[in-house]
């Protein structure tokens, strides 16, 4: 039977209250959102916080809305809500692509986007999605709010830019026109973490790529992306050749590690091939509006 070490439990009522409690307890305290990464770690005693601060009741963190020229996603929005959200579906189907492959419906009923990004697991999917979309993270402390680009949010595996007495409160994604996006993931079985995954957005100006973003999960890509491949694409044609070349750059740039999910060569192959598929589907969606793309990875 897996039982966490003892701890004190406090339930915060507002963002300010949570920050006050975090300040009072210092690095002894951890916030808990969905708890679907933290509790398994506590049960294995890989995490031993002395105080847990429950943020599930905080008002104003469960929104998805258009806010000026950005989409704003509250830190407490759960996977299930992201999967079904009409605004995200309209602007960025990459979210639903990824969510369909994250864990299972029951886990998705609890896990939050904030917890996912803050867990900073190198195989995490939403982090790769927000990285692909060149989103940013709004962090709140007693001194106010600051915004950190997603690509600087993870400071190492399982480490983030969020300080001891801070909370991630919102994720923001720029709204773009003539854009398509897509996510491709290979998993060993339904609900498992990625063997490898790649996400992309492509913004078109006619047939030319005006802007592009790549997000890579589980393949040891620095900052979960590949700027060289992005640069090679921008200003060029949205063609099969260009996407194959970007895939080749990604293939050579990543540094996956061998584990029970597969050997290095296989993961490297997947990183390239899934990049190619994500770019291809993103470009197709950019041309046609957001038609759903069937993403079976059987032949990867």
């Amino acid at each position: 039977m897996q039982v966490p070490e003892t701890f004190d439990y406090e339930r915060a009522s507002t963002v300010e209250d949570a920050i006050q409690r975090l300040t009072a307890h210092g690095d002894e305290a951890r916030v808990i959102a969905g708890g679907h990464s933290l509790l398994p770690m506590m049960k294995l005693r890989l995490a031993v916080p002395e105080v847990l601060i429950d943020i599930n009741d905080l008002p104003g963190l469960d929104h998805v809305r258009l806010d000026g020229d950005e989409l704003a996603i509250g830190a407490l929005v759960r996977h299930a809500a992201i999967l079904d959200d009409p605004i995200l579906g309209e602007h960025y189907p990459i979210f639903a692509d990824a969510e369909r492959k994250i864990a299972d419906p029951l886990v998705r009923n609890r896990g939050t986007i904030g917890g996912s990004l803050c867990q900073a697991d190198p195989a995490e999917d939403l982090s790769a999605v927000v990285t692909a979309l060149k989103g940013s993270c709004v962090i709140q402390s007693a001194n106010g709010r600051r915004t950190v680009p997603m690509r600087e949010f993870h400071t190492g595996p399982w480490e983030t830019a969020v300080g001891d007495a801070e909370l991630l409160v919102e994720v923001r994604i720029p709204v773009r026109t003539s854009v398509g996006s897509s996510y491709h993931k290979v998993e060993r079985r339904v609900g498992d973490w990625a063997v490898a995954a790649a996400g992309a957005f492509v913004q078109l100006d006619g047939d030319t790529i005006a802007a592009v973003g790549l997000g890579l999960s589980a393949v040891g890509a620095p900052d979960m992306t590949c700027p060289d491949a992005e640069q090679a694409l921008v200003g060029g044609p949205a063609s099969a050749e260009a996407f194959a070349e970007a895939a080749r750059i990604v293939h050579d740039a990543v540094s996956p590690t061998a584990d029970q999910r597969g050997p290095v060569d296989y993961k490297r192959h997947l990183a390239g091939e899934l990049t190619r598929r994500a770019l291809t589907d993103a470009a197709r969606r950019a041309r046609s509006g957001s038609d759903p793309v069937d993403s079976e990875e059987g032949n990867a």
Binding site: M1, Q2, V3, P4, E5, T6, F7, D8, Y9, R11, I32, G35, H36, L39, P40, M42, K43, L52, D54, N56, A103, D104, P105, L106, V107, N109, R110, V190, G191
Partner: protein, 175 residues
């Protein structure tokens, strides 16, 4: 610390350690052993119950996190001993062998039927993908959910106070 949780319609108050998992709260504190507990790693779904009308894996939630919330367990599916159509479907279609996964399957399946009274096979398989079964190969579980869909799904009617709806449900069940 003291928690008050409304379980199957009744508010219960207990003094628990913060580290007590919700699955152990319902099983050990309340004696509601219908909710099963197996993998302990958020994978198998045997511990599935509803918190605020949403199915979750209760081995991965603290009882204190459910303080002030509602919980529904498999013990609440029948009405006075009368199985609901989903439970009946599991009987009719042999949706269980050892039965260990069944409470979780029922709680997830009922949630699906409440949201989608006529789910196709792919939808059912996706919905139960967080609930593992080592016996049936899932085929009969899918059929059991379909049986319920084809026999009134009953949940809405069964909890309805309207007498005619109750009669309708029991007709369907005994048909």
């Amino acid at each position: 610390m003291e928690v008050t949780i409304t379980v199957n319609g009744t508010a219960v108050t207990r003094d628990v350690e913060p580290r007590m998992l919700l699955v152990h709260f319902v099983r050990d504190e309340l004696g509601l052993t219908g909710t099963h507990w197996a993998c302990d790693t958020t994978n198998c779904g045997a511990c599935t119950l509803w918190v605020d009308d949403t199915p979750v894996k209760s081995c991965t939630m603290l009882a204190v996190m459910a303080d002030g919330h509602t919980v529904r367990t498999v013990e609440d599916l029948d009405t006075g001993g009368q199985l609901n159509p989903l439970q009946e479907g599991f009987m009719q279609e042999h949706g269980l062998q050892c039965g260990f996964c069944t409470p979780g399957m029922l709680m997830t399946g009922q949630w699906l039927l409440d949201r989608d009274p006529d789910p196709d096979e792919a939808t059912i398989r996706e919905a139960i993908s967080g609930n593992l079964c080592r016996c049936t190969g899932y085929e009969n579980i899918v059929r059991a959910v379909r049986w319920a869909a084809e026999h009134g799904n009953g949940e809405a009617e069964a909890t309805d106070d309207d007498a005619s709806a109750d009669v309708e449900t029991s007709d369907e069940v005994t048909a």
